[in-house]
C-alpha cells in the first residue's frame, strides 16, 4: 500500500506546472476554472500522500522533512479551497466586465504557477533554488495584482514590484554571504548551498559572516512576510488585486516567506558563536504587530483593513518563533495554521460582500446579517475568530503565545496583550457597523458558494475545542526541531 505513494514529491511540483501550461493554451473560462480546481485538488492529494510514503533521501535540490511537510499540506489545502472560491468569484467579475475572458485564461495559468513556485520554495533543499522560487512567486503575484488594470491596481502592483524586488535583492545578498561562509568550510560547489549539509556543518562557519547574512535575510524575506518597515506593499496589493489572490497572499505567500526565515534561523541556531536570531525576530514581529494594530483604526477599505490584520498576525507569529522554545514554537505553528485558515476564509466572505455591494468602502457596507444572512454571519464568525475571541482556534494559539512569553519576559507579554487588545477593539468596532444595524448601500443577491468559507471557519472552530492528538504530537515534534 505504501509503495505506490513512495514518492509523490515530484507530483507536487509537476501537476501545477502541467496545469499552468494547459490553462495558458486552452480557451474558455468555465473549463479553465474547473481545471484549476481539479489540478489544485490533485496537488493536495499528492501533498497528503507525502505523509504516508517512505521519505526519499534528501537530494541536492529537493527534500521533505517534518517541518516543510506541515507547510506543504497547509499550502495546498488553502490553494485548493481558494480555487473553488475563485471559480464562483471570477464568473461574477467577468459578467460585470471587470476582466475579459483572455485575462482569465492568463489568471488561471498564473494561479497554478504561483502554487508551483510556493511548493518549490517549500521543498527546496538548496538556498539558491529557494530564492529563485520565492522570486518566481513574487513575480506571478505582481502580475495578478495588476489584473484589473485600474489606476489603483497598477499603483499597487508597481509598489509591490519595487518593494518586492528590493526585498528579494537583499535576500539574495544574504544567500550569497551564507554561501561564502559555507564555502570556507565545505568547499566550493553545489554542496555549500544544500540545506542538509549547511546545517550539518554550521557549527564551523564564520559567525561574523552568518550574522551579517541573517540581517540581510531577515530584512529581505521579512519584506515578503510583510514585517514593518518594509510592509507598505501589502495593504495595496491585497486591496486592489482580485480577492482570491488576497486570500492566497495572506494565507500562503506570507507563510512561505516566513518558512525561509525559519530555515535560516535553524542555521543560525546551529552555530554557537553567531548572534541569537531570536531578539531580532521578536523586535521586528512585535513592532509590526503594534504598528498594524494601530493602523487598523483608520481603515476605510474593507480589504485593506484585513490586510493590516494580516501584518499584525504575521508579526505575532514572527514574535512567537523569535521567542523560541518548545511552547512558543508550538504556539507559532498553531497560530500560523489558524491564521491562514481564518484569513483566507474572511477574504472569501469579503470577496462576495464586495461583489453584492459593488464597493469595498466600509462606510457603504452595513447590516449584512440582515440583507445577506449567510455572508453576514460568515463574516461575523471570521472576524470574531481573527480578533481572538474564545472558543475559536486563534484564541487558543494567541493564549499559548502569551502564556509562553509570560514565563520568560513578562514585559514583552504585557506589550503583546496590549497589541492584541488594540486590534481586538478595532476589528469589533468595524464589525459592528458592517454586520449589524439597518442594511446600507447597494444590494444585489449573492451568487456565491459558501462551502470554502464555512469549511475554513468550521475547522478553526473545531480547533478551538479539540486538536487531534496526532496533530499535537506532530507540531510538538516540529517545535523541537525549530529549537
Amino acid at each position: 500500500m505504501i509503495a505506490p505513494f513512495a514518492d509523490t514529491l515530484p507530483a507536487v511540483l509537476l501537476i501545477p506546472v502541467a496545469a499552468a501550461a494547459l490553462l495558458a493554451i486552452l480557451p474558455g473560462y468555465r473549463f479553465g476554472a474547473g481545471l484549476n480546481v481539479a489540478a489544485s485538488f490533485l496537488t493536495l492529494l499528492a501533498a497528503l500522500a507525502l505523509f504516508t510514503g517512505v521519505r526519499p533521501e534528501p537530494g541536492g535540490y529537493l527534500f521533505i522533512d517534518d517541518l516543510n511537510i506541515v507547510f506543504i499540506v497547509l499550502n495546498n489545502f488553502v490553494g485548493f479551497t481558494t480555487s473553488v472560491f475563485s471559480a464562483t468569484y471570477i464568473g461574477h467579475e467577468l459578467r460585470t466586465g471587470r476582466v475579459t475572458a483572455r485575462h482569465l485564461r492568463f489568471y488561471h495559468a498564473m494561479y497554478q504557477m504561483l502554487l508551483f513556485a510556493m511548493n518549490l520554495a517549500l521543498v527546496a533543499n538548496n538556498i539558491g533554488v529557494m530564492w529563485v522560487s520565492v522570486e518566481l512567486a513574487t513575480l506571478t503575484t505582481v502580475i495578478m495584482v495588476g489584473l484589473y488594470r485600474t489606476h489603483e491596481a497598477l499603483e499597487a502592483a508597481w509598489k509591490y514590484f519595487i518593494l518586492g524586488s528590493v526585498g528579494i535583492g537583499l535576500a539574495l545578498f544574504g544567500t550569497i554571504i551564507v554561501y561564502v561562509a559555507a564555502q570556507a568550510v565545505i568547499g566550493a560547489g553545489e554542496e555549500s548551498m544544500v540545506w542538509t549539509s549547511l546545517v550539518a556543518h554550521a557549527a564551523a562557519f564564520d559567525p561574523a559572516l552568518l550574522n551579517v547574512a541573517f540581517v540581510f535575510l531577515l530584512l529581505g524575506y521579512g519584506t515578503k512576510v510583510g514585517l514593518a518597515p518594509l510592509h507598505a506593499w501589502l495593504p495595496d496589493a491585497h486591496a486592489e488585486g482580485p480577492t482570491p489572490i488576497s486570500a492566497v497572499l495572506s494565507g500562503l505567500l506570507l507563510n512561505v516567506a516566513l518558512y525561509a526565515v525559519l530555515r535560516f534561523k535553524i542555521l543560525m541556531a546551529a552555530n554557537a558563536a553567531a548572534v541569537a536570531p531570536g531578539p531580532l525576530m521578536v523586535t521586528m514581529g512585535l513592532g509590526s504587530a503594534l504598528f498594524a494594530s494601530l493602523m487598523l483604526y483608520r481603515r476605510r477599505d474593507i480589504k485593506r483593513m484585513f490586510a493590516y490584520s494580516s501584518i499584525e498576525h504575521m508579526g505575532i507569529i514572527t514574535f512567537a518563533f523569535g521567542m523560541g522554545g518548545p511552547l512558543a514554537n508550538f504556539a507559532g505553528l498553531l497560530h500560523m495554521t489558524m491564521h491562514s485558515l481564518t484569513k483566507s476564509g474572511i477574504f472569501f466572505a469579503v470577496g462576495h460582500i464586495a461583489q453584492v455591494k459593488g464597493t469595498q468602502r466600509i462606510a457603504e457596507i452595513g447590516g449584512l446579517t440582515e440583507s445577506h444572512p449567510w455572508l453576514g454571519w460568515g463574516l461575523v464568525l471570521g472576524v470574531v475568530a481573527i480578533a481572538g475571541l474564545p472558543p475559536l482556534g486563534i484564541f487558543t494559539s494567541e493564549f499559548l503565545v502569551v502564556s509562553a512569553t509570560f514565563g520568560r519576559a513578562p514585559l514583552l507579554a504585557l506589550l503583546l496583550v496590549a497589541v492584541l487588545l488594540i486590534a481586538f477593539g478595532a476589528l469589533l468596532l468595524r464589525l459592528n457597523g458592517l454586520a449589524f444595524g439597518a442594511p446600507r448601500g447597494n444590494s444585489a443577491p449573492a451568487e456565491a458558494s459558501y462551502v470554502p468559507m464555512f469549511i475554513h471557519l468550521s475547522l478553526v472552530l473545531v480547533a478551538g475545542f479539540y486538536l487531534p492528538g496526532a496533530l499535537v504530537a506532530w507540531f510538538q515534534h516540529v517545535s523541537a526541531l525549530l529549537g
Partner: protein, 220 residues
C-alpha cells in the same frame, strides 16, 4: 601575478562603485541609460576577470549575458520606449544632488566597515568583492528611492542586480544555477516591467510614478 589579479579585480569592482555614483546625479533619462550601459559593461569586464582568475569558464557565460543583454539589449530597448513615450527630458530628483551624493558616500563607508570586518577571515579577493558589491547594491537602492520616474527606478533596480551578480561571482565556485537564474530573473523582471510600462502608457500617457500616487486607494 596574484598581485596583478587582485589589483585588476579591485579596479573593476571599484569602477563599478564609481559608475554607480555617476548614475546618482544623471538628470536626463537618455544619459542615465548610457551610464547604465557603461555600468553593465564594467560588470561584464569584472565577471570575465573573475572567470580568468578563478579558472571558472562558466563565468564567461555570465559575463557574456551581462555584456550582450544588460549593456546592449536593455538600454537600447529602454531608450526606444523612452523616446516613443516622449519623456527623454529631465527627471526630477526628490532630494538634491548634493544630499544624494553625501548619502551615497555614507552608504559606501557603511558597506566597507560592515563587510571588511565581517569577512575578515574570508579570502581577500572575495572580501573586497563583497564590500564593493554591497556598496553597489546600496547605491542602487538609493537611486530607486530618490527617483520618482518609473524608468529611472527600473535603472536603479538593474544596477542593484549588477551588484548582486558581482557578489555572486566573487564568491568562489558558487554554482552556475544561481548566476543563470540571476540573469534569468532580470529577463523576467524586464518583461514584467515592459508590461507595466505599456499598461501605464495605455492609461496615463506618463511613466511618472507620482502621477500614480494620486490614485492611492484610500485617498479617494
Amino acid at each position: 601575478m596574484p598581485a596583478l589579479a587582485f589589483d585588476t579585480a579591485h579596479l573593476l569592482a571599484g569602477g563599478l562603485v564609481l559608475v554607480s555614483f555617476i548614475l546618482l546625479y544623471q538628470d536626463r533619462l537618455s544619459s542615465l541609460l548610457t551610464i547604465y550601459a557603461l555600468h553593465a559593461t564594467l560588470l561584464a569586464g569584472s565577471v570575465a576577470w573573475q572567470a580568468e582568475v578563478q579558472n571558472a569558464p562558466h563565468l564567461y557565460v555570465t559575463a557574456a549575458i551581462a555584456l550582450g543583454f544588460k549593456a546592449i539589449v536593455i538600454p537600447v530597448s529602454l531608450r526606444h520606449i523612452v523616446i516613443r513615450l516622449g519623456i527623454h527630458r529631465e527627471i526630477e530628483n526628490v532630494v538634491g544632488t548634493g544630499l544624494t551624493m553625501l548619502g551615497g558616500m555614507g552608504l559606501v563607508a557603511l558597506s566597507m566597515v560592515v563587510m571588511l570586518k565581517a569577512a575578515a577571515m574570508a579570502d581577500p579577493l572575495a572580501r573586497e568583492d563583497l564590500a564593493f558589491a554591497l556598496a553597489v547594491v546600496l547605491l542602487g537602492l538609493l537611486l530607486m528611492v530618490t527617483r520618482r520616474n518609473a524608468v529611472s527606478q527600473v535603472v536603479g533596480f538593474m544596477s542593484l542586480e549588477n551588484g548582486l551578480v558581482l557578489a555572486a561571482t566573487g564568491a568562489k565556485g558558487m554554482p552556475l544555477v544561481v548566476e543563470i537564474s540571476v540573469a534569468f530573473s532580470i529577463l523576467i523582471a524586464f518583461i514584467v516591467i515592459g508590461i507595466f510600462l505599456f499598461r501605464i502608457r495605455e492609461r496615463f500617457d506618463t511613466v511618472d510614478v507620482q502621477a500614480l500616487d494620486r490614485f492611492r486607494g484610500e485617498l479617494r
